[in-house]
Amino acid sequence: MSLVINKNFDEEKNVWDVALKGEVDIYTANKLKETLIDMVSEKPQDILIDASSLEYIDSTGLGVLIGALKRLKQHDKDIYIRETKINVRKIFNITGLDKIFKLEG
């Protein structure tokens, strides 16, 4: 019932690596929102999200990701989401967001 966010800017590849651990819901979404906005302001580069330990996401979390993607698109950058668990993947699929975000693995 909490969210741990680990971020790191990969100077070599010029991308943000972000690992999400736990749950993104109405309680934790703000923390994710602030982190992503800070990252985009600091360096507007591609964001790679490691979702292998993301146990849960709902519409609040999707809203935050969409907001961040909008900002990135202004710089022609993208959000890549890797290794989503089957339940998380399902939420992206039914909302059609699997076609908006770059889902991998």
């Binding site: 819901d25 309680y27 849960y56 709902d58 907001g67 339940n87 039914i94 908006i100």
Partner: protein, 151 residues
């Protein structure tokens, strides 16, 4: 005659559906508590892991809306779990301004809009979804999931 009939129906209902009801402060930190509670109930009924996940997400979406649209910070919202032999009904009620029918429209999937996905997700994951509301008196959403034999 009608009174007797109603009584019989009530008695039948009582033995088939168990109701667990909850009153919860309208604050974000408690959605996680409801998620665990509904998981335990769904597990007890016999839903499989995938169905339990669906129910968890749908109920959380409804609670999120109830919290966001509650009358004020001191408000509570209400959840009732209607536990059948092969079904789970969940009613989520708030005391907010009420939902308007035109709010409940299909989102443009694939558009970059930050809102409007919650109710769509609920409808996608549950077997039956219905709303009832009186303007200025709050919203009540009821969702049902049936236990299917084919797994």
């Amino acid at each position: 005659m009608d009174a007797i009939k109603n009584q019989i129906l009530d008695n039948e209902g009582a033995s088939e559906i168990d109701v667990i009801s909850m009153t919860i402060p309208s604050r974000p930190e408690y959605v996680g508590v409801i998620r665990l509670t509904v998981s335990a109930i769904a597990n007890r009924i016999g839903f499989n892991i995938e169905d339990i996940e669906d129910i968890k997400v749908a109920v959380a979406e409804a609670c999120t809306n109830a919290i966001q649209h509650s009358y004020n910070d001191e408000s509570n919202f209400y959840v009732a779990f209607e536990i059948g032999i092969d079904s789970l009904g969940v009613v989520v009620r708030d005391d907010g301004k009420g939902i308007k029918v035109e709010d409940v429209k299909e989102p443009q999937l694939g558009e970059l809009k930050e809102g409007g996905l919650g109710i769509f997700i609920i409808k996608s994951l549950m077997d039956e979804v219905s709303f009832s509301c009186e303007i200025e008196k709050g919203t009540e959403i009821k969702m049902v999931k049936f236990l299917h034999e084919n797994y």
